[in-house]
Point group: C2
Chain length 332, copies 2
């Protein structure tokens, strides 16, 4: 892989800088997703794990640990832990969302069944837990246990907020922290903790992961409205499912009574007609909420970069800063 | 509550002996199932937690800790942990089984939806994990992480073994250890570990929980065939769902070609007619497999009692022995 700055993306540069570590993580994932007794488990897991995800979250753990000078073995366990937690939540999400596509491929619940997705997700979650126990580091366990609770709570909150046109920006931010930022911030934070980094660096790593995750999710939600040929995501899915994301929450808040009735009909009652998606886009444009949401994403990315100041000045730190830019660059 | 031996059941005597501890466990469960942001979580959890279960598993943890002389605070955390893991698996089981009744009440997935069951289960699992991290005991974390993986693996194995008439007794035992015995044995073992009991006692507690759990599950599977007015379970459910339990596995192994064709049609192809359940019962009777399965349950209960020899001679030990008898007494 070329290391030429202009030719590569920041996550590719991170992967190149962490080649040996990532190989060790992939080997550990392959070894630990095996099950002697239940071959269905590695089948389902491999479908997701080999689906060509960028392994962003484990890479964040490795990068944080290396940036803080770690040279022990346990950043590998923690990176694999983080990827297993992520994979487990994807499996459960697909059941919850009744999805049929993920990363452009059929979802596990479509290829097998909901039962497999639920149970294999549980298995991976238990496996992730075994991996982190092996580090013998109670603080790392505490951070990851709290992240797991925040993730699940965020998912429940998202479910109960869906189709509720009274959802606030505050609730949206809680959902985003739960579904995305909690695992990003835990991934970076445990990298610092396992390296026994000073507290200000651990705090900076948490702040970076948190802001990066929020930027990442806001961008994802924006792309559902404005589209992006590269990601293979159908635009308008969130509208059809009644998901309350920032552009909509702001448009509802700024809208008049007639607009409010439109949102109640389409999102709460889910009575949607062919022209409704375009009309919804018009309303977002009228109130400038795609632009204001984009501004929020840029602000969070800037905040992520600023958090890095407390960390050692090294090539990996630059890549992490570039990653924050890259996450929002998808919007342009 | 009367403590008169003849008038009470062993789990009631255990509950009476552990009244203060159980009150502390119930208070901790109530406090930890709360969610500031997502009220759906305590709603769903309370439906199950308050449904009048016997709290058998947390009681085993408390009993084991007390029997080994523990006087610290963490047996309460561990008992609550065990109950949360149990509740989380019940929630996920109901999705998997598409059940509509549990303990005679509508299941959570019927009252709310599958999504709530999956996500609230995940939340309780994360909560259980936070509780055990609070004990600061890495060995306890290791035992419970392994139990969680065994439970999930057993559930997947059960799913892939269902409707497979080639399922062996060995696979059945693995499923039983996963779905039931792994949590029983972890519950008793961590009670000993938190009390810093000698290794032979910790091993004895594991062996007791393992054998008790196996006896418990074999009895449950038997009652699905022979019925028991007291448990509110529909007999014949396992036959209709194609679950491969010990009486059927043995009848298939002992049957001739015609019988085998019957089992393949009814269990594998699930083409069942009105008279098939009675015919299946006739085949079990012909090969004496209800009796031989009952003998196995009694053997496991005896093994559970024998394991107790290594533990201090105290009233709680007698109650645990009586509990092993009681589990199989449901059969008489």
């Amino acid at each position: 892989m070329s290391l030429d700055h202009a030719a590569t993306k920041p996550h590719e540069r991170l992967a190149a800088a962490l080649t040996d570590d990532m190989a060790a993580v992939n080997a550990m994932i392959a070894a630990r997703m095996a099950s002697e007794h239940a071959p269905r488990i590695p089948e389902v897991t491999a479908h997701l794990v080999n689906a060509g995800g960028k392994r962003l979250r484990p890479m964040l753990t490795l990068a944080a640990a290396r940036l803080c000078g770690y040279d022990g073995p346990y950043h590998i366990h923690l990176a694999a832990t983080v990827e297993f937690i992520h994979t487990a939540t994807l499996l459960h999400d697909d059941v919850v969302d009744e999805s049929d596509k993920r990363r452009g491929r059929p979802t596990a619940n479509l290829l097998w069944d909901n039962t497999s997705s639920v149970l294999v997700g549980d298995y991976l979650f238990a496996r992730s837990f075994q991996l982190m126990v092996e580090t013998g580091n109670l603080r790392v366990l505490d951070i990851l246990a709290n992240a797991a609770a925040t993730i699940a709570e965020g998912e429940v909150l998202q479910m109960t907020a869906a189709r509720n046109t009274r959802t606030t920006e505050d609730t949206y931010l809680k959902v985003v922290r739960g579904k995305t930022a909690a695992l990003f911030s835990a991934a970076t934070q445990v990298g610092g903790v396992i390296a026994a980094a000073p507290e200000d660096q651990v705090a900076a790593l948490f702040a970076y992961g948190d802001a990066l995750g929020i930027a990442f999710q806001i961008v994802d939600d924006l792309l559902d409205w404005q589209g992006d040929a590269g990601i293979g995501k159908n635009t308008g899915d969130d509208f059809r499912e009644g998901k309350m994301t920032l552009p909509v929450i702001r448009a509802i808040a700024a809208g008049d009574e007639g607009e409010r009735a439109f949102w109640v009909r389409t999102l709460e009652k889910r009575s949607q007609e062919a022209a409704d998606l375009d009309h919804a886009r018009d309303l977002l444009a009228r109130h400038g909420t795609l632009d204001s949401t984009r501004a929020d994403a840029l602000m969070w990315a800037a905040q992520a970069k600023a958090s890095l100041d407390a960390l050692p000045d090294a090539p990996i730190r630059t890549m992490l800063a570039d990653l924050a830019d890259y996450v929002v660059a998808r919007l342009v």
